[in-house]
Structures are given as structure tokens and as C-alpha cells.
């Protein structure tokens, strides 16, 4: 939906990995239509990380649990909000240091910090809002 408040997509998916591909196919298409090709890699990666975390760690891969997504393009920003049905996590105590490069896991938060301009969580920790500022963006929202 495109209007005064920018372009907004809201979706709800079951907790399976194919849902990540479906959502990313839709938002990359929308970004292409908006001429945001330079930011597709970063935004898709952020969406993939957040959605995979929600499915794996939030909803424990239980397909009956849903992941709620909001993707928004407004002015010079893209905002992604991903909410799961899990109990959340204590994000205030999450490590801010770089992950061990020899370990096979633990890179999701590092990816957030690399590609997002702003990272926010709900108090409970079951919802993440990732914002990326887009350079050279025309204002349409």
C-alpha cells in the first residue's frame, strides 16, 4: 500500500524458513520498483536475519506460531518490524563485542549493527525494529 505515509507492507507468515524467502522476494521486488537497488542487499540481509531469528529462537520453529512483519519505505528510510510469539529475550544484556570469527554461529546481531542505522526492540524482546537510512533517496512519503 502506498500513500501519504509511504509504502507499507504488512504480512503474517507461519514459522518455516520458506516464509523468509517469500517475504524477501516481495520486499526486494518493491525496492526495485522504488529504485532502491543499491540498498537491496542490506535490507534483504536485515530482513532475513530478523525473520530467521524470530522463527528459530522466538517461535522455536513451531509452524503454528506466526511471525508478523511490517515493511515500510518512507522518505529516506526503510523500516522493518518483525514480531514473533516467543517469550522474548533480555536484549539489554546482549553482547556488543564482535563475534568470534572461528565460530559457526552468533553473527545475527553483528549483521544488524553493520547494515541498520537504528536497532530497537520491544521491552519484552519479541519484536525488533530495524531502520536503514537510504542515501540519494527521492522523497515520496
Amino acid at each position: 500500500m502506498t500513500g501519504r505515509r509511504g509504502t507499507i507492507i504488512r504480512r503474517t507468515y507461519p514459522s518455516r524458513m520458506e516464509s523468509v524467502d517469500d517475504f524477501c522476494a516481495e520486499i526486494t521486488q518493491v525496492m526495485r520498483e522504488h529504485g532502491l537497488t543499491d540498498d537491496i542487499f542490506a535490507i534483504e540481509l536485515l530482513a532475513r536475519e530478523a525473520m530467521t531469528n524470530a522463527i528459530l529462537h522466538g517461535n522455536d520453529c513451531q509452524e503454528d506460531k506466526r511471525v508478523c512483519l511490517m515493511f515500510r519505505i518512507i522518505k529516506d528510510m526503510v523500516v522493518i518490524r518483525i514480531t514473533d510469539e516467543g517469550k522474548g529475550f533480555t536484549w539489554l544484556s546482549m553482547p556488543c563485542c564482535a563475534p568470534d570469527s572461528a565460530k559457526a554461529s552468533g553473527r545475527g546481531l553483528k549483521i544488524y549493527s553493520m547494515y541498520a542505522s537504528r536497532i530497537a526492540f520491544s521491552r519484552r524482546g519479541n519484536s525488533v525494529i530495524l531502520t536503514r537510512r537510504i542515501s540519494g533517496r527521492k522523497t515520496d512519503g
Partner: protein, 103 residues
Amino acid sequence: MAEIEISKHGSSTTVRPVKNIVSSTVPDIRSEIKALIAEGVKDIVIDLEMVEIMDSMGIGLFISAHNSLLRAGGKLMVINASKDLLDLFKAMRLDQHFNISGS
């Protein structure tokens, strides 16, 4: 469904994923690489020509493959990474562990 193409060049084996290396494809790609290592393949080249994006599960796959090959006395090499992928590999300091080259 095959997520990769496999070819042999001298002593090394080239693995060419035909899809992105992400949460939905990593389990199958991991199985294929594990099977190659179990068959005795020591040197694996992963060709990323067809890959546009990889997520943290994909990055984990590279680390696991590198660790397994190292234990077997072999090595991992990555070729044809796009600029975006190359930047991601470097930011995650994977270039300190195995050779990675761009397209």
C-alpha cells in the same frame, strides 16, 4: 532438490551453489558438502557466481566446512564473490581463515 553443482578439477572439487546460501537452503548444501568430505575430498572451491546473498546461517556453513576440511588436512577456497558478499566476508573476518576472491 540439488542446491549445488559439483565438478572436479585436478585435485580440487568445485561446489557451485545455484541458489542463495540462506536459512532455507543451508541444510541441503551442508549435507552435500559433508558427503564430499566423507568421501575423502580434501580441497573444496566454492564458486559463488550464482549467489546473490547469504545470511548468518550461510556464513556458519563456510566456517563449518573450513573447520572440517582443516581437520582432514585440506582447505577451503571461495571464488567469484560479488562485492556485497566480499564486504560481508571481510566484515565477519572470514578472510583471515580461508582464501576468498571476488568476481
